[in-house]
């Protein structure tokens, strides 16, 4: 029986439990004279109480069982006489067993290793045996929970309090998912990075200037990430910001200070659309239209080393993508400046543009800077535009028309090639991911702190 069917069946039982619990409570409410004290909980809470006792223990058991049973099945297969001929080599053996499992569950049709075919039958029986055991125990738990909780229903039973306690636990558990995800990210990145740094010293990785990882080669000289960091900074923090800061800031100024309300109510959402366009579309645009155009421009200007997947093409398009982010942060900061400052400046005879340049912008500067930092963090972590438009070769060059590569491009490149999980090449992707995570985290923390302090200063 498939997992989904079992869960659906459990919920069906839960529904029956809910109905019977509610009916029982309604009956209890009726039998005693109406003049007596009203019961503590409405009938549906009694229903929920029985339903929760039916579903939750069985579900908890099933989730533990689904984690345990594959291991038990493998042990059962190893005890089978067919497994006696398996090679002693741990690695080969686990490969054969994994293949037999995939054959048995129908994930693959044809095995690579002939020995795995012999194990398919034992595997199939073991899996079906353990899943039957799991279903039976889950059903027993469901019925036991239902029966026990049903006997507890009394007229003055405080079902609502108990149900609400479970609801609160559920709410807390949902909030903990965020912490678990954060810990998952930190630990998976750290764990794999440490294994990488066992093979390649941290200093060689962070300060080396030559990047060309090859499968099977663990020479630390090949894992110098400086060219990647430089490419990331050139595209995300320099070129993209040269486009996004002036355009975003001036857009915000025009929309908040000059545009009539009607125009503003149309233009602002229109510009926000730029942020809603998927990055893969920007990437295609950069690779197909902007890149070749810039290359012919460079050739016409006589610039050497021009490439059609240039840093400039990726950076320009990324800058366009970032405009709404800078613009909305600048918008918020300018709006947060007290209107007394603006009015005072205008009253002294300054023109609107003088007020903006000499009063509003200096006053809003911390907020704008925070927005820029957030934009940099966004640009640095952006993947698809650079994967499609920025090239793969790790060059340490300042020429924006030449091809550079970034951290995110290399993560994708390392992870989508030949997948051997143990090689230094694959682990390097996690080390790059760790650096990216730390840098974007720092940028965000600093940016949010600046923005917060800025807001407080005017409150």
């Amino acid at each position: 029986m498939s997992g989904l069917a079992i869960v659906l069946m459990l919920f069906g039982l839960g529904l029956i439990a809910w109905l019977s619990g509610r009916a029982r409570a309604a009956q209890l409410e009726r039998v005693t004279p109406a003049a007596a004290v009203r019961p503590h909980s409405r009938p549906q809470y009694h229903g929920w109480y029985v339903a929760l006792w039916t579903i939750l223990p069985a579900l908890a058991f099933l989730s533990v069982w689904s984690a345990l049973s594959p291991g038990l099945a493998v042990q059962a297969v190893l005890a089978d006489p067919a497994a006696a001929s398996l090679p002693d080599n741990e690695f080969v053996r686990s490969a054969i067993i994994g293949e037999a499992r995939q054959l048995a569950t129908g994930q693959i049709a044809q095995g690579f290793n002939p020995q795995s075919a012999a194990l398919v039958e034992p595997f199939r029986t073991a899996i079906s045996r353990y899943s039957t055991i799991g279903v039976v125990i889950a059903l027993i738990l469901a019925f036991a929970g239902a029966a026990w909780s049903f006997t507890r229903l009394k007229r003055d039973f405080r079902a609502r309090t108990r149900v609400e306690r479970v609801v609160m636990l559920l709410l807390l558990a949902a909030s903990l998912v965020a912490i678990l995800t954060t810990f998952g990210i930190v630990f998976s990145l750290l764990f794999e990075s440490i294994r990488f740094f066992d093979r390649v010293p941290v200093t060689d990785f962070l300060f080396g200037t030559h990047w060309s990882p090859v499968s099977g080669n663990e020479d630390p000289d090949l894992f110098g990430a400086i060219p990647l960091f430089w490419g990331t900074i050139l595209i995300g923090a320099v070129i993209a910001m040269i486009v996004a800061i002036p355009l975003g800031l001036m857009t915000a100024i025009y929309l908040t200070q000059y545009a009539p309300a009607r125009v503003r109510s149309w233009l602002k959402p229109t510009i926000e659309v730029l942020a809603g366009v998927p990055t893969v579309v920007y990437g295609f645009f950069a690779a197909l239209t902007v890149g070749p155009a810039l290359r012919s421009l460079a050739d016409a200007l006589g610039i050497a080393g021009a490439s059609s997947d240039s840093a400039l093409a990726a950076g320009l398009v990324m800058g366009i993508m970032i405009i709404p982010l800078v613009s909305s942060m600048a918008d918020d900061s300018i709006a947060a400046v007290p209107s007394a400052m603006r009015d005072g400046s205008l009253a002294l005879g300054a023109t609107p543009s003088e007020t903006i340049r000499k009063v509003l912008i200096p006053a809003a500067l911390p907020g704008v800077m925070g927005g820029v930092l957030l934009a940099v963090s966004r640009a640095v972590g952006e993947t698809m535009i650079v994967v499609m438009a920025a090239g793969q070769s790790a060059n340490l060059t300042g020429n924006p028309f030449s091809s550079v590569t970034t951290v995110t491009v290399q993560i994708v490149k390392l992870m989508t090639g030949d997948q051997e999980f143990e090689s230094a090449k694959t682990l390097a992707a996690f080390a790059l991911g760790l650096v990216l995570f730390i840098v974007t985290l720092m940028l965000n923390i600093v940016a949010l702190r600046i923005v917060k302090r800025f807001r407080e200063s005017y409150e």
């Binding site: 995800t181 800031l249 000059y258 809603g276 992707a429 995570f437």
Partner: protein
Amino acid sequence: MNNAPASPPVGAAASVESRWASPEMRARIRRRYGAERRFKAVGLIAVLMSVGFLAFLLGTMAWSGLSGFSQTRVALPVDFRGSGLSIDASSMTKAEAMAALNQQGLGDLLQLSATSAYGAQGESYFGTAAKESAAAAIYDDPSMLQRQVELVLPATSPIDVAAKGEGDAASEAAVARLEAADKLSSGLDTTFLSSADATDPTVAGIWGALKGSLLTMLVTLALAFPVGVLAAVYLEEYAPKNRLTDIIEVSINNLAAVPSIIFGLLALALFINAFGLCQGSPLVGGLTLALMTMPVIVIAGRNAIKAVPPSIRDAALGVGASRVQVVFHHVLPLALPGILTGTIIGMARALGETAPLLLVGMRAFVGGTPDGLCSSATVLPMQIFLWSDEVDRGFVENTSTAIIVLLIVLLSMNAAAIILRNRFEKRW
């Protein structure tokens, strides 16, 4: 007034009278007003440039993509008499009939007819798409196997691209010849929306990717929405002010800003390598995107819950509702439009996401539609990425057409969010 001050100025600095009519003063005013106009113009230019970029981007995609909905067709006289082809349309399904025709040598017959009609190069005019279209036509009207007919069949990619004006010289010449003989026509490409990916651009379609996207979004919604809403309720209504709550808040705010590719690395290490879930499936893709979307829903949900005025809670508590009843009977229904708006926006972002899915193995070529949560699948943005890598000119058009479909879906989702907000959100 300015020219004639009523009282003599006090103090040394004011002893020089401002003469507003003097030429220097006028020049200065002119300069300042000029600067004002220039500054305003720069602002307007910035806005126009931003809007212009958007228009250019959408225009480019529409220009090169809209032609992808049309298909070039070439007329081909075929003599089925004596070909030996036969099907039993009453007992066979369409797929069976097409397979049977293929086996009986329909392809060879078409190539033969093409050479006799258009000379040696006629072979290159018709490919897989033509064969499928011919088989479908025969299935619809089996009587044509007894006579000579003129079929109108979809052309191969080089002819198709050339007919739309971007092909190589040889294909351009062939198109000119066909046009002169009045054998060329074009029609709506119905297969693009209904077929899966293929190696031949005239056969390839986006239905497989669309269905993959749908399944992936289903998983994402089923996980991210309940968890996000419950977490938002907890943080906004019940969370005590303590260390744990602070950690939860900090991690949600950080997760919202973590680059999407990091989620891909997490999913690869956790779901695929540790849990052994099926690689490249809507299940794993949906789980990954759910982790990304959850913080967005939490943040939107908290804002919506915060906007419900406290008087509602006080009134409910006052008539004897418990704290859980207050939230689930009163606060949540009132906050629901805001939560749904945030959810739609988060889902739209997840639908356009590619980078994390690259890492969990959704990059492979999938030639059919996915039939379950654990079968190998691709999603719409991934299909765009895969096609954009192809060399064949026909795929450039396919890519742009797929982009148009994706943008239409995303824009209508965002429009739905805006309508929902304007229609149902209460201002207190």
